[in-house]
Symmetry: C2
Subunit: 410 residues, 2 copies
């Protein structure tokens, strides 16, 4: 993609009402634009990152044995009344039709999926069943100053599992802990698996928390990895020595990027979701749910991977494989290299602007944060390019072949 | 994918309130489920078709030089007031927050995209600009009995182009006519390019109409391809001889699967979207818009490609490349073939059910409508399979290799 043609360039001044680091960086670099508080449009660069995150999550969910489907936003009010959440789910947006009926504007999807599963689950042979979707959620949040970290409209992966027994649920639950760890690692996020409240459903749940000063959550954890609890439920104090000798427990601010939750039979009972077990006895299906905030993950990545110059995207979610800059009178040489990159299936953002200084191009590249930068100038020897990684200080002069191999393996 | 594990099996009885052919077929075959009138959930089979349609459209839009982005559903009320549509867009859903403000729930996206484009368009050098998205739309429609043909929530591709002059708009408009024809052909739809009203924007627009008895539109057209007008504006009568000697004009019911529309400067003026032309003069950008109903296209394909046994998907949008059936005691043989298909990157739906008769498997395969059916039974010679195309009567016994090649080229 030629940067001269890209919709959504960098800007110098960010709107005064943007107070979060993630929204400031993402707006300045041309990834997102605010529509109203807590609601953001994704420009082409931003959509690329969102899709890369979604695809990594999709791969991991498919590998875990789950099937993807796509549920609705305009949800049946009657089902929200059955679960007693129509009047008790604080952040629920209600949509009135001019034809005298009302919808719930989906903040979550138990009220849609459980009645749907009920149609197809009859016997223990139909279980376990794992279904997920990647879809917009709507929540009438009180606070919405944190950019992509807390949206009124946001992209989420939500997975729901249905089991014969709590034992089988917990087997999948443990599997999903591993899937979640791997997923966040692939996204470039060090997420701490944290024990949290189970709300009205269960004794516990698990949250995936990323340490970040601007996070809204707080956890107490051991850096040895054996203890982490949300301070909402933690009974120990910061500074207490870890039982396993890893030193004192720390209290930190965090962002919750995902959670897993044993729902047990609350929704199965509300919708009469039963199955015949091996002995012909009708039982309620046992459920779990597993969420990842996709747009929130994007905001979190920007929030934790940056320096004073801009964003530093992990390779796995970067909008492009590399950022190619042409300086001075080297247009023909750079055009040729751009074409070779395309032919090698390397996805390059090519800063081909003619009316912009070298300094501006460098600072834009740092701000946008694509992990590999290639520079072509009059001084570059034929067949060679200046190569620099975003998170390193030093550039090298390398053969194009070698760079292509590096980028293809990324 | 093993059919025994697939979420969303065929059913015998369809809900009494489903009166459209497309929703009856798609529900019976396990592609969709109604949430409320005009709002459908997509089961795994349905999502596969929806994604295939989206990806074909995405390819064609990218090839036409457009950039993809993703706009919001919760839209700024102030912008709807600027265009005077807050109180004049009949089908607009309004969403009230508990915090004393209101949103428009996006039925279309001029009110979002034009202010956004305004930030980045300054000079003639920034034009032409072509932006599109694939996203859910919400409309408070009066009628919603036509399944996927008229939804209150539906998936749409909407593209908006911005130009220096009407001349440049019309150049792209003519290009998009060709892109649309090619796109619908790839989707397996014979869409007739039809002149229609330009509403308040322009003298004309063009609709892409598929002949179908259950369509809500009506056109008068010449089968020779030189004349087609929506009856809303047509001044000639059915039966009139075509000027080019192709015989009498026909009047038919149709489904509108797409439209292209010169918006001119209506929205540019509302939002002050101007640019400096080559002479330094400020001018309003000239716009066009280009829509395709993606879920409607899926409904239309089901509506026109079917027989008394079920759906007949065009290869390009079929949920799987082939449907593999195992009959009798041939499980081991069929398992092996399923594995070989996977290894050859052929996407197969494998009906591995053990408690289901051969007759049921055949009728389910016909209903689901995957274009190629492979049958393995005790009688099948080693290395061979019974191959039948959904739209042909006769089956053949073929080598697996040959079938794989057929399916890979599809």
């Amino acid at each position: 993609m030629k940067y001269s043609k890209l919709f959504g360039k960098t800007i110098k001044e960010i709107p005064k009402d943007e107070v979060s680091i993630n929204s400031q960086l993402l707006i300045k670099a041309g990834f997102i634009r605010k529509e109203v508080a807590g609601v953001y449009n994704f420009l082409p660069l931003g959509l690329r990152v969102l899709n890369k995150i979604s695809n990594i999550i999709r791969e991991e969910m498919n590998n875990s044995g789950a099937q993807e489907l796509l549920l609705v936003s305009l949800q049946n009010k009657a089902n929200w009344e059955k679960t007693d959440r129509w009047n008790n789910f604080d952040a629920l947006f209600k949509v009135k039709s001019r034809y005298d009926f009302e919808y719930a504007l989906g903040p979550t999807h138990e009220e849609v999926l459980v009645p749907l599963a009920n149609e197809f689950v009859n016997s223990y042979r139909d279980l376990p069943l794992k279904l997920y979707q990647i879809q917009n959620k709507f929540r009438d949040e009180a606070r919405s100053k944190a950019g992509l970290l807390r949206g009124r409209e946001f992209l989420m992966k939500d997975l729901y599992s249905f089991h014969e027994s709590e034992e089988d649920l917990m087997k999948y639950y443990e599997q999903m802990k591993k899937v979640y760890k791997k997923t966040f690692l692939r996204l470039g996020l060090s997420a701490i698996e944290t024990v949290a409240s189970g709300g009205t459903f269960s004794d516990f749940s698990h949250e995936y928390q990323v340490i970040c000063e601007s996070g809204e959550d707080e956890i107490i954890y051991c850096s040895g990895g054996d203890y982490a609890q949300n301070t909402e439920i933690a009974k120990v104090k910061e500074g207490k020595e870890c039982d396993l000798g890893h030193g004192p427990l720390k209290k930190v601010k965090t962002i919750e990027v995902g959670n897993i939750f044993p729902l047990k039979d609350k929704f199965s009972k509300a919708f009469g979701l039963t199955f015949k077990d091996k002995n012909g006895k009708e039982k309620h299906a046992i459920m779990g749910c597993y969420g990842i905030g996709i747009s929130r993950a994007m905001g979190t990545i920007a929030e934790v991977h940056n320096d004073e110059k801009g964003i530093i995207w992990p390779k796995s979610v970067a909008p492009f494989d590399c950022h190619l800059l042409v300086l001075g009178n080297a247009r023909d040489k750079a055009d040729k290299i751009y074409k070779e990159l395309i032919d090698a299936s390397v996805d390059a953002l090519y800063d081909d602007r003619e009316d912009v200084s070298a300094g501006q191009k460098f600072s834009d590249a740092d701000l946008i944060g694509i992990p590999a930068r290639l520079v072509v100038s009059e001084k570059t020897p034929d067949g060679k390019i200046e190569y620099k990684e975003r998170n390193k200080d030093k550039a090298e002069i390398l053969d194009l072949d070698k760079i292509v191999k590096k980028l293809q393996s990324a």
